[in-house]
């Protein structure tokens, strides 16, 4: 989070300052990618890029603080995720047995897997095991830094439902991490 200097950074970015926009992007994009890697793992990078295109298109018209900024960016991204899911649902599914061996992904070696376990990707993978609403609420609260009311508006639920989903998700996440037997 940028904090108190957010308004100045946003104004400079609107005026065309590349360094200001870079600061905004570096602050927002990692959280955005972590969010997208749970909601749409296969198209996270593409959706993130598309989110920035849409954001830049309407940047001059944005008004608000840092909380509103993040809510706006993540709302844009969430709509793109929904579009991507609709697009994916229209595509015919291919069975794994029908995929040629050359096209199958090659598994990473043990060293990489060990390193990944202690990385953020492992945490994201654990969050991805949660029910969708719980995972999304936890990511929006923790990664995006939004409060309960903002998350409720974003996902279209009441603040009480968001709070309950977050707590249940954290308890479930504790169980998943305990079962994995690893310390992140």
């Amino acid at each position: 989070m940028i904090g108190e200097g957010f308004a100045a950074v946003l104004a400079a970015a609107k005026d065309g300052s590349e360094s200001a926009f870079s600061q905004l992007w570096r602050d927002t994009n990692p959280a955005l990618l972590r969010y997208l890697r749970v909601l749409a793992p296969a198209a996270a990078e593409d959706i993130a890029a598309e989110t920035w295109v849409k954001t830049l298109r309407n940047l001059s018209g944005f008004r608000g603080d840092e909380q509103a900024w993040r809510a706006w960016v993540f709302t844009t991204s969430r709509r793109l995720v929904i579009d991507e899911r609709r697009r994916t649902a229209r595509k015919p599914a291919i069975r794994l047995s029908e995929v040629p061996p050359a096209a199958l992904p090659i598994s990473a070696d043990a060293g990489d897997e060990a390193l990944e376990r202690i990385s953020t990707r492992a945490a994201i993978a654990m969050v991805a095991e949660l029910p969708p609403l719980q995972a999304e609420v936890i990511l929006l609260r923790v990664v995006a830094g939004l409060d309960t009311e903002a998350v409720a508006r974003l996902v279209g639920r009441s603040p009480g439902a968001v709070r309950v989903a977050a707590h249940r998700g954290l308890r479930r996440l504790a169980q998943i991490a305990a079962e994995a037997g690893v310390t992140l």
Binding site: E18, N29, P30, M126, L184
Partner: protein, 289 residues
Amino acid sequence: MPNFPWLGRQDASAIEDAALAAMLSGPEVPVDIAAGLQPAADVLAALRARPSGDELAGEAFAMAEFRNRVGVPDRVRRTRPRRRPALLTSLMSAKVAVAAAAVAITIGGVATAAYAGALPAPAQRLAHDVIGAPAEHGVSRSSGRASDAQRFVRGRPSHHHFGWHCWAPRKSGKPMPHPSWTPKPHPSWTPKPHPSWTPSPHPSWTPKPHPSWTPSPHPSCTPAPHPSGTPKPHPSWTPKPHPSGTPGKYRHHHRRHHRYPGHGPGPHPTGSPSPLPSPTPDPQPSGQG
């Protein structure tokens, strides 16, 4: 003191909810966090970790997009001055278009008025010379009437597209229009040219005068030239209306000769084809001014 185990579970649940809320709100993990929630706290800490290299890999693309859409203030500044000339040009072109339309309407109106013979005598004369409009309809204006009469007296009958316009002199030799004559055009006359009329001469027309045509006016008109050949009015003539007020002869005469032979239904007085009127200057009798 009784021991209520459910009260203890309720307290534990309340503490757990507070711990969960604290875990979600910030990176600081509460001290009194339940042991069972520690793995979840570790996961959240990993989610809040500093960005890795792959998460910042798309910065070049984002910056390029930023330059294309927002980060080009110089281009924005450049486009503003360009808009003003464009606006100015459009305004100027609009003014030019309005002026052109006004000129076209004015010219069209003047031309229509000229063909209708509604212009003042000098303007009508100019229109006659320039665009071939009917000559000033001398009988339709009091001033024109006088000038035609004067021309007649000078031995130069007024001539326009409808043929020789004769002002028949009375027995006294004074060509005067009847007082009851009204200055409206001949009923058969319309502002537009006769359908059979074309700006080009009649095919049978030759530049030389008709054999039956003589430099003198029509015989019925008897506009005898002045003996001296000079185009001054007859001394005895004065351009005042006739006092007797018998317009029949004049009106009939005027109507008969107003129609040009070959245009109207009536035959040519001489029974032979005669030259059609043309916008070009007609041959004038020599010695008649």
